[in-house]
Symmetry: C2
């Protein structure tokens, strides 16, 4: 993209992020963004198809910054707890400037149907990159499990990262220090729980956890087609 | 409360729930509720101090129905997985009529500061009753752990129930059948993970999980007063 176009695109994005912060996600419009940026609505739409795409751009940017910050800090041969804490803390670092945006985006972002959900098809690129960063953290660490749990560990850790992010978005404490406390406690706990999965006593549990993850992330909405335990719950009291 | 007052109170509550469903939580006003119910605003305020208190009333009612439905179905001496599934499924049963309300209440209900959050001081009564129902499910089950984990197990299971509720609120599947699938998978997984905590290999992990829960649920906002690992994260990149 040429320099002028690139800087106009940046201007639209920066203006949008400011309006999301100030007015909330729902009350911000493409027309209002264009107007504040001194552009016609058509010009703004030339760069972004709508508010959803602006949020996607934010996800891509955050993910890129996260990787740039985290990857050089992963320590080869370190315990998983250490590298996991590094990835989770640096994730919060790069999101910190956007803390004010979070709560107004939360309900639409969480709703499964919405394109700005972290689970949506539209969010696939930044999601895949986030899972890939988790895979790098696992690969750098010593003593991580093999087998089916090893394969799916990056995805499981990404879900843990989403949980931390949910806590952080809603965290009213100064500088979100309670979310930092959560990361400091959760990283060693998760690493130890994952360590248990290497023992005979934990292996079956880990396999079942992965199987549940697979069932829950299957995109199909049809009842009973991937899991025969999933009977229609229309009248659960009658069962 | 006399019959007439009781039925007026019911009318205000029913009208409020309908407006929450139809307009969303944010757009509903006490004035609008009173008007639709054919009352003066002053009359409506006589029964409820505001929208928040109407939501609290809903929590209390759901919790009461949940207990009435679940308690007789708990089976003495059954495995924890079974009694846990009973409590989680009956919780979804009683919430089902209010599924449409959930997403509009989600952002304010999740925010820690808001009185309609499940963690707020105002929600203490229904929260305590929900934890008490979990304690009944644990007490009815065989082979549950003692010690510090046993003591805190009801609170941990209540957090799992909140997680299931979050999934359910956002669940777009027919009849929220994916949330039923989650319960069917999660109840045996949690029960087995809790079983591991009785073994030497899991005991330390369980104790650390409980300690983290205690740190995270401490109400203090001051940095470092309950946990010396909780350093101010103002400049985590500098560390």
């Amino acid at each position: 993209m040429a320099g002028k176009a690139q800087s106009t695109r940046e201007l639209v994005l920066e203006t949008a992020l400011r309006q999301f912060r100030e007015k909330g996600y729902a009350a911000t419009t493409m027309r209002g963004i264009a107007s504040e940026a001194g552009l016609s609505a058509g010009n703004a739409y030339y760069y972004f198809s709508g508010k959803d795409q602006l949020v996607q751009e934010l996800y891509v940017r955050i993910q890129k910054e996260h990787r740039e910050l985290a990857a050089p800090r992963l320590r080869q041969g370190a315990p998983l707890s250490e590298n996991l804490a590094t990835v989770l803390h640096t994730g919060l670092d790069v999101m910190t400037p956007y803390h004010g945006l979070g709560s107004s985006m939360l309900a639409p972002a969480l709703a499964d149907r919405d394109s700005i959900s972290p689970f949506s098809p539209e969010s696939a690129a930044p999601r895949d990159q986030a899972v890939e960063l988790m895979a790098e953290a696992v690969a750098a660490s010593r003593g991580t499990p093999g087998g089916v749990l090893g394969e799916r560990l990056p995805q499981l850790l990404w879900l843990a990262y989403l949980g931390v992010t949910l806590h952080w978005v809603l965290d009213p404490s100064d500088g979100q220090h309670r979310s930092r406390m959560l990361v400091d406690g959760l990283a060693p706990l998760l690493a130890r729980a994952i360590g248990l999965a290497k023992l005979p006593v934990g292996r079956g549990l880990a396999a079942d956890a992965v199987a549940l993850l697979d069932r829950m992330t299957a995109r199909s909405n049809a009842i009973g087609d991937t899991n025969n335990a999933d009977d229609p719950p229309e009248d659960p009291r009658g069962s």
